[in-house]
Symmetry: C2
Subunit: 327 residues, 2 copies
Amino acid sequence: MLLSTHRLSRLRPGLWSCLFAALAGLALDPAAAAGLSPRETILAQARPAEWQTLDPRQLLYMQLPAGEVIIALAPAVSPLHVANIQTLVHQRYFDGLAIVRVQDNFVAQWDDPEADDGGDPHKTHPLGAAKTRIAPEFTRAIAGDDHWTSLPDGDLFAPTVGFLDGFPAARDPLTGREWLVHCYGMVGVGRDVAPDSGNGSALYAVIGQPPRRLDHNLAVVGRVISGIEYLSSLPRGTGPMGFYPQAGQRTPIRSIRLGSELPAAQQGIWQQLRTDSPSFARLLDDQRYHRSDFYPQPPGRVELCGAELPVRHLQLHATSVTEPSSP
Amino acid sequence: MLLSTHRLSRLRPGLWSCLFAALAGLALDPAAAAGLSPRETILAQARPAEWQTLDPRQLLYMQLPAGEVIIALAPAVSPLHVANIQTLVHQRYFDGLAIVRVQDNFVAQWDDPEADDGGDPHKTHPLGAAKTRIAPEFTRAIAGDDHWTSLPDGDLFAPTVGFLDGFPAARDPLTGREWLVHCYGMVGVGRDVAPDSGNGSALYAVIGQPPRRLDHNLAVVGRVISGIEYLSSLPRGTGPMGFYPQAGQRTPIRSIRLGSELPAAQQGIWQQLRTDSPSFARLLDDQRYHRSDFYPQPPGRVELCGAELPVRHLQLHATSVTEPSSP
């Protein structure tokens, strides 16, 4: 909320919950009485089955000096690119690379700095078993509705929008194609002019307003689900397009690992609220219609890139070994 | 462009200009032959009269340790709030305050840290002659078309969108109201729940995807025209809503001055491309339709918050005093 919180903190939680309950028409339940917002209530009350566990083989853990960035990979539209990225990670290709470019209100991009310095690409960091060129995977044929949740609010750029395997996506029934959308935090494959020149060795994350002109022009391969701030808060590069003029200005990448390469006990379990769940639908309605004292005029719609995609992290805790009962 | 620039740098500028010229149907003119993009060509060829000089009295210069943030004030919809901010600046209210909150994909906010620490608001930094409460100015009655440039591409949230005095704006002909829109870099007035509690002593800038739910719920008073990166790249606050838990984490504000308070020779002249100019219209078409080798499928539309609002800075140079001709 855009307010001086010294005032907010003086309001009693009970008063807030009554206001929300009255305005939203919710029954006054324990969660609301505990001072939770409607959003927090919906998430707290979501059933376990409404949370989709993310496959560790489709999770990238990128270690930067300031912290960890976790990316959920999306193989649906660009499976060959995702597979190539997994191969590169296996080969430790990204270890020792750097964030080479941070352009304000656009992207943070990482790849082989030597390549951008005009050196021989992939000389110090060879691609090994990974492919150098991959046929473009900017869109795919619409693959049915099993993995699709429609968002009926409309969109300025695509005839139909919604969620594909939980990722923001769009469809054009006229062309019969669908693709992932460049919302905030989405990760795509950097390439040269040649459409098959992107192989996953250069990746970028959106750190500003969604650059929709990139849609169906580049392969989108995932979404940052944790730690986006470690990319979005980096100093902006002062060179053209936000590249850093000097090597010393680049943030180094310590490592990128797949979740399946990390000890299970260390990484825990990541889950995302299923977009086909009743709780997700309630969350959308909350974003569309919730009228509060602070926001008396709700927007009435939710735009694709503004729809919250909640994730949660479950940490595994060791349970004590029970003592055998005495004989 | 999302590409490994080592490849880009090898393409000859002449080849690029030919490609752009051919694809965009431009005559091969000196600007294009110089390797300029259509966008750069449009800006280079804009006539002087198409550039609107910004009034120094409506420019805020905010000095942060890392650099200078310049905000163009927009008095059209919220004149009392803008006037109050100017009063506060005159009184040096903001000098010594701090960035108290940076929430990822949302806002950077600055005000009196003592207020957020639970202390007496405005005790150390009294408001002086400035008003404590101002009647809400979230929208105004549609004031005709003299200062309005329509954007016909449509919008998900408002019936009509366009530019009001060069600021992104929206209108609802049914209610007869218009308001400024929370695009990236727009600056608004923080307030408490009471609609008249915002007085300009707490301000925020949008540093993520446009939070359209804030529209017509808060007063929007300007746009960052330079230095947004000094706000968007700040570390995110780890407290609730992005507030910084510890005082030492806040970025201090050294000073805020009006342009009219600064020496003219020092600040130069800031200009913005007039939204009712032919060059601005050409720029919009370039964003909608320009087909390039890299972006083979242009979006076909430009969204309000994606429309570029070009500004330029003209530095005043001292001219040498001519020697009197010898007698």
